[in-house]
Symmetry: C2
Subunit: 168 residues, 2 copies
């Protein structure tokens, strides 16, 4: 795993700069996270590590995710569910999300015009933005073709789609 190992090194650099240590648990987590190419949650990570017989506690997973977010290697995102999701940041820059409330799939997009307009709005309100969070919920193309109706707005909450729920 050469690509993934590079990320471990990146994390180690960050840790050293903070006087922190690279442990086996942290390295395993980084390798796992940079092998997942979608939006995952903490429980999914815990499950995958268990699958691979990598011994690691829930607390360490949360603690390491926090460090990875601080290092800028991982982003924590809201996808309309009541718990956080994460995604690794590898070169590809900022983007926002379209979330299908029927199947749970997530489409990423980046739109410079949208971003520019936000800056404009902030300027008008004399507001200095540091970051933003945009999710557009709705129905993806394949779900629409299957004739699925969007949930009533008040019921939208991606029921039963989280990784844990699927496997429980």
């Amino acid at each position: 795993m050469p690509v993934v190992q590079r990320e471990v090194n990146r994390f180690q650099n960050f840790l050293q700069g903070q006087g922190l240590k690279l442990t086996g648990e942290r390295a395993s987590l980084v390798r796992e996270i940079f092998s997942i190419h979608y939006h995952f949650d903490a429980d999914e990570l815990l499950f995958k590590m268990k699958e691979k017989s990598v011994k690691i506690s829930r607390a360490t997973i949360y603690r390491t995710l926090e460090l990875l977010v601080k290092s800028g290697m991982v982003r924590r995102v809201h996808l309309g569910e009541d718990h956080y999701h994460y995604e690794h940041v590898s070169g590809n820059s900022h983007h926002d999300h379209l979330v299908c409330t029927t199947c749970g799939s997530v489409i990423e997009f980046h739109d410079p015009l949208l971003e520019a307009r936000q800056i404009e709005i902030c300027g008008r309100k004399r507001f200095t933005p540091t970051f933003h969070n945009l999710q557009i919920l709705g129905v993806c193309d394949s779900c629409r073709r299957k004739g699925e109706q969007p949930d009533a707005p008040d019921r939208v909450k991606m029921i039963g789609l989280s990784a844990m729920q699927l496997r429980k």
Copy 2:
């Protein structure tokens, strides 16, 4: 309270249509909610009712909020914190939020161009949007002038600003 009473009637209409009842608790809550002109959370509501010696349980508050959201009279919003906030919907339509991570103040805005651009993006992805959620976090004008620095992105979470935390 003539204005507020109109909202109680609106809610009663909705309830009747659903075969549900207008109770004293529900009426009190509606009156309270339509007297609050900012973004509140469930605990704040519980506290305010206690202050006024209106006996009402936490469960009833959550249940009534759910009904109010269904009726369209209240919106549930994310403001970057890890619990929900609510706002009443009175005539004024959809808007998004600028949230100051220093003082917690919230600026509302509505921008047709921003909305239109989102529709465009969805069309391009063949995605049928039902609603969206946009928060821009940053520093408001008065905080900026006081020389407050924005929190590092990873630490942004409006520490100590929720109504409950302030009063605990």
